[in-house]
Symmetry: C2
């Protein structure tokens, strides 16, 4: 097992150093301008190649064009509030769901995994999940064309996991995941079950399924595609987004350090403070920055604008060039973003509050 393989272990929180190497090694295709233009409409994440790679995304484009059924599938491990990373996945589901009226969204609340990995009892993760689903609804999911379920309640997923276990060997699992304890392999099989669920007879039979995920989840995609072939399912497609960095710098955003991450439930004032203390691409002194320009490529604040908070491409381009040419200082960006974020959070939290009852019904009542 090479270091590269370990670098995209889904249970590891380091940011892969070189996405292109990983893509070449595992056969992930790049998102090209041609592919983007094949979609009926685009999204900031796709246009800006925050979604940088994919597997079989054309299959989904084809389904949209032919007006044929497809599913968008993702989920959340209900261990805490929605943060920018989970928001990104939610936005992707909502976007790809919106491209056709033949689409269906599947959203898995991975409460069994939250228990296995994080020791969170099912009753506790249940309450967290209600909040998570309220966030998902507030972000715009069309819940009438969505199936939202808890892993612990969806016996079909568990049945699939068991059935798929007959088709995998330890060698296969170890080649994909490295040596792990059985709970991880079982969890992997259950995730394959989640990914394949939209293709079961109960959910309308085989169809293209798009899974928007971080590249750290690619092992599950590879395992799913291997297994799909053995069980006559359509190999699931995937679109990979960049991992969301910590507000403070290099690492992948982590739920472990609250100041390193922003959640959708943060008090707007606290969120502003987090932005003011975030890492930028600024120079040592104002004079230097006026002379050399900033480094938006390194800047977390610019990344937040790009990936999450500024939809207008012209506006973003303007900010970029003002920074590069020294016309704009870090304080300008932080102030602008703090306003955008606190305003977004206020509106989002109000919407979310109004959707809590519906979210609870969905989490508790659909089964």
């Amino acid at each position: 097992m090479s270091d590269d393989k370990r670098a995209i272990d889904p249970w590891n929180s380091t940011l892969p150093a070189d996405y292109e190497t990983l893509m070449a090694e595992f056969g992930i295709e790049p998102i090209t301008d041609e592919l983007i233009s094949a979609f009926p409409s685009t999204h900031r994440l796709l246009r800006r190649k925050v979604e940088f790679g994919h597997r079989d995304l054309l299959r989904i484009v084809d389904s949209i064009r032919r007006n044929e059924a497809y599913a968008v599938m993702s989920g959340i491990k209900p261990t805490g509030e929605f943060h920018l990373g989970t928001m990104m996945t939610a936005e992707e589901i909502i976007f790809y769901q919106s491209l056709s009226d033949k689409s269906v969204a599947h959203y898995c609340i991975a409460d069994l995994e939250a228990f296995a990995d994080n020791g969170i009892p099912l009753e506790e993760s249940h309450e967290i999940a209600v909040g998570n689903v309220a966030d998902l609804l507030a972000l715009g999911l069309d819940y009438k064309r969505a199936y939202i379920y808890k892993q612990s309640e969806e016996r079909l997923v568990q049945k699939l996991a068991f059935i798929f276990s007959t088709a995998v060997t330890f060698n296969m699992l170890e080649a994909i995941y490295g040596p792990k304890q059985i709970k991880y392999y079982l969890s992997a099989l259950i995730q394959v079950g989640d990914i394949m669920l939209p293709q079961t007879e109960e959910y309308g039979g085989p169809k293209p399924v798009l899974v928007p995920v971080g590249i750290d989840q690619d092992p599950h995609i590879r395992l799913s595609r291997d297994i799909a072939k053995k069980f006559k399912f359509v190999p699931p497609s995937a679109v990979f987004h960049k991992l969301t960095r910590s507000l403070l710098g290099e690492e992948k955003m982590s739920k472990r350090n609250p100041m390193s991450m922003m959640t959708l439930s943060d008090d707007p004032k606290l969120a502003e403070r987090k932005i003011w203390s975030a890492l930028t691409g600024g120079r040592g002194t104002v004079e230097e920055q006026r002379r050399l320009g900033g480094e938006p490529e390194k800047c977390v604040v610019f990344e937040l604008m790009t990936n999450h908070f500024i939809d207008d491409d012209d506006e973003l381009r303007k900010i970029y060039w003002e920074c590069k040419t020294g016309a704009r200082l870090c304080g300008d960006c932080k102030s602008q973003l703090a306003d955008i974020v606190s305003s977004f959070l206020r509106k989002h939290q109000q919407k979310r509050e109004g959707l809590m009852d519906l979210a609870r019904n969905i989490v508790e009542g659909e089964r």
Copy 2:
């Protein structure tokens, strides 16, 4: 891993050569006359020590005496008709259920295992299961105090399996089962889930559970007892019966050779023929047998009488001594047993026929 350990592998069909060695090695207690006398009533299998060993059986005796709740738990892999081996387990469940009005029986239809081990699709095993449950009812199960379920439909069992996976390591599984593919380990965890189900809150919380099984299933009992301690369940009790031999001789009865085994759906005439061709403990010639007596210890026909078809101890003793003293020849035994068996099968099959609808409702409707 010693050969002895492999000899009681549940996925192996050889008959353990020396039960006593196995019992000593794994800490299985012998069934003693004292223990038998502690029960309010007995059953041929217990009295004759066909049930030769146990773990914590006194816990069940205590529950009966104190009139406290306990469960009897077993199941069937729905791969074919009830045979003498599965009938024995069914009789044990029915007997231990009958000893108290505080008891409940749990009967698991291991359809996921039938798929994983034998490749039998769930729809097919479903139909087999309906017949199996009709047999169970015809044998006398009080279904009003029983929970009969298919593994594939009981999401609680699957949830338990997942949760228990967090508490086991590959070392632990390999020490118990030897090196196996993941489907076997997963199947083992699901069986532990089945065994623990009666102790979940949904089924009334922690309580003694008796699992009547062949000694080849002891690895599951050991794993269950290990896991029970970690999750504050009562370690399940077990009673072990001897494995049912093939009608033709030495091996464990197997579904693979129809002439080696008797099923409860056999045509009574066919069953008679099977008895006439069964292995006996007879001598080479009639003269020799008259002089030396037969060897009932080796005789499959005598074993069928002892384990399955003759309840009256005096009658059985009489047959034994007539054989030993040469007063009785193999034809006498075969003729007597053929009558008993064909009469039993006729009555049983008639009862079973009348219970098919109820069995179908139970298998399909309870969930």
